[in-house]
């Protein structure tokens, strides 16, 4: 029983580490043009470093027909866009100040982050 309990607690620790503490790898974009694949509940890439002070061009490739995926929202920028199926979803963001900008679907199940450096 002891082993089981230790195993359970280790599992909890693993959940905490994997989902909250781990910092995902950033994708660095030099030309501020990023392709983001929307599928299976995630944006790929989801942590994107872009240059501050320049416009950012995002192209969303939505492969997931679940209604969850149909909207992308940038709350800090007050921008939202409906994504149609396929690659034809261009979204131009204004030049960003330094900082972090979240983006997510309506329900916040899909989440991602732009880091303007």
């Amino acid at each position: 029983m002891l082993y089981v309990n230790v195993l359970g607690i280790a599992l909890i620790a693993a959940i905490v580490w994997w989902f909250w503490l781990y910092k995902p790898q950033q994708v660095v974009s030099n030309n501020n043009q990023v392709n983001i694949v929307v599928n299976h509940g995630v944006y790929q890439p989801s942590d994107i470093q872009v240059k501050a002070g320049e416009k950012v061009n995002l192209r969303f490739d939505r492969q997931d027909s679940a209604p969850c995926a149909e909207m992308v929202i940038f709350p800090q920028l007050d921008i939202s866009q409906e994504l149609s199926m396929g690659t034809n979803n261009q979204l131009e963001l204004p030049a960003l100040d330094r900082g972090e900008y979240d983006f997510h679907c309506q329900m916040k199940m899909y989440t991602g982050k732009l880091i303007a450096e």
Binding site: M1, V4, N5, G8, I9, L11, I12, I15, V16, W18, F19, W20, Y22, P24, N31, N39, H40, G41, V42, Q44, S46, E54, D64, S65, A66, P67, E70, M71, I73, P75, D78, S80, E82, S84, M85, N88, Q106, M107, K108, M109, Y110, T111
Partner: protein
Amino acid sequence: MSNRAPQNNQSFIIEGASCASCVSKIEKALHNVQGVDVVEMNFAQRTVSIDGSADETSIIRSVQDIGYNAKPMNSESEQDALDEKAQADDAHYKVLMRNMYIALLVGVPLMLYGLFIGDMSVNTFNQRAAWFVVGLITLGVMVLTGNHFYRGAWQSFKNHSANMDTLIALGTGTAWVYSMVVIVAPALLPEMARHVYFEASAMILGLINLGLAFEVKARGRTSEAIKRLIGLQAKTARIVKGDKEQDVSIEEVQLNDVIRVRPGEKVPVDGEICEGKTTVDESMLTGEPMPVSKTSGDKVVAGSINKTGSVLFKATHVGKDTTLSHIINMVKRAQNSKPSIGRLADVISGYFVPIVMILAVLSGLTWLNVGPQPTIAYAIMAVTTVLIIACPCALGLATPMSIMVGIGKAAEAGILIRNGEALQTASRITTMLLDKTGTITKGTPTVTDVILFNEHKENDIMPLIASLESGSEHPLAEAIVSYAQDKQYTTSQVSDFDAITGRGVTGELNGERLLFGNQALMNQYDIDVSRGVEQAQTLANDAKTPMYFARGDTLTAIVAVSDPIKSDSVDAIERLKKKGVHLVMLTGDNEATAKAVAKRVGIDDFIAQVMPQDKVNEVAKHQQNGEIVGMTGDGINDAPALAQADVGFAIGTGTDVAIESADITLMRGSLHGLVDALAISQATIRNIKQNLLGAFIYNVAGIPIAAGVLYPLFGILLNPVIAGAAMAASSLTVVSNANRLRFFKAQKP
């Protein structure tokens, strides 16, 4: 980054190119367009790809000039996009329903078997063999109907995130893996715990697919309003060139094109009538039910319906610049914005899934440590149920679904709400300041009385007053000038003109000083008005605005101007008062006139002689008292006060109003629009609260019950299948509750 002009690649569909020789002709023409670097035409597909900085319009024009037509390839119309989405939704719905049938086809018999025929325990070799086959069938069902969840779960896991898919995958996966262990290695488990749960995996997938299918349908309905707006856009326009008329697609209409609309047709773009007379139904845009008559020089807007006459008009706004496009954009944007009331749910959603996973592990451990025998079976049951019953969807959907329907519904009534925050604040307004002119009244003052002293004649005096007032931009001046025009008085040029804000105007004509304004102006110039004061007071008590006219040093006339009260203002104000909103009328009029108007419409509180610039202070003053202040005005003169207010309402007549100038724009001129805006806001926020409360209670109560807190007391432990049904029902409930807002009825005057 380079500093050159922006380079881009554009693709067009070429129409009318029937021979290969056309290719070189088109390419040549395109090369002559400034900014075109590379042209590549694909004759087989009738497409052309252009690199360079040239703009779309000049490219299209150059192709049209040589007798062909070019259409931008990627500019699918919004209607097309909608149709595409409807098709995609439909296809998605079918897949989900198919999944549901497959999963339930296996799940239901298994569950019935477990309930009525045999227990699902595994002891003999034959039982093991039989259940092994069932296990494989279940696996097939899971792959077939749930692969989306498993893939999603795996992808998000790899990305260190978790979502609904994760919970479903873990829940159904746990049940299946445990059951397989029972079959393959029963020795690992105590005899009592050798029980399979294949029916749970299949049933859960069936129910969740069903829930999602219903959700797709219900979601489609939440965007009805925007669909209706987009549907207002005409697909083609009939362009008149010389004596030829030609139907072209709406994207090709250029500024200044002359367009014909016949009775019954939709106006394709915004424009100004240059020939003909008609009535136009703008109700879809403004909520104003009465058709408006239009003639040369009047504006028409895209999306309105031409009723009676055939007219020609010149396009003044096309494409994305039309009023309708602005409305659609604003509604779309607003529908996706979130009021602060939804933020908490957002924060929770972000942590929700991992927390549920932790709770599942904890409940499993608890059952293993202190639960009854067979502990492992109970633990597995609890873990599966906790994972399945938790529904982050309901929480996440609560706010956006209601906002979507509420803002759409408002738009249908001619109420444009800028964003979710404005909607939320509007629902809490305690004090509403109403500008009198143009809000309560029609905003078109007319001369009602002319009182003359010293036996002067009207046709001697009114030309003088009109001459003096023609230099002024005050709305009352307009009334005087148009009165003089109607009577065909001739006006002359006034010298030394001066407008004294809040008092009136002065000037000189034929060496004589002329004064026209209120009593303060007369006092300033020491004019004796005693003989007119009584008459002025009577006029004021009658809700008219009296103004004195002095020629030289003597009072010569009193002219009263009145701005008629809108026919439905009294009713609307009654409705506002019933809502418990404290109403205050602001006006530049004198005390007596203000009082008379306020009394007539039923407002107890008014502030008279407010200079335009003081309106801001009045708003601020009320805010300092801790009130949530709404300000309703025309959006142009009142812009600073509208901005200062917690929620600014711009009220406009028809489609003239500057959209986006305020938090909430009332396209219908009626004050009923204001009451409706408050009512819709309140209904929407109430709906969101219901949704959030429902979702919170559901999760807060559901998870502990699933974990088994009721077991020690009542012996209740939920079956995972029930959890699956509850989960599907919970998000469906939220979407359906939001859809109830569709039945909101705006007051039609």
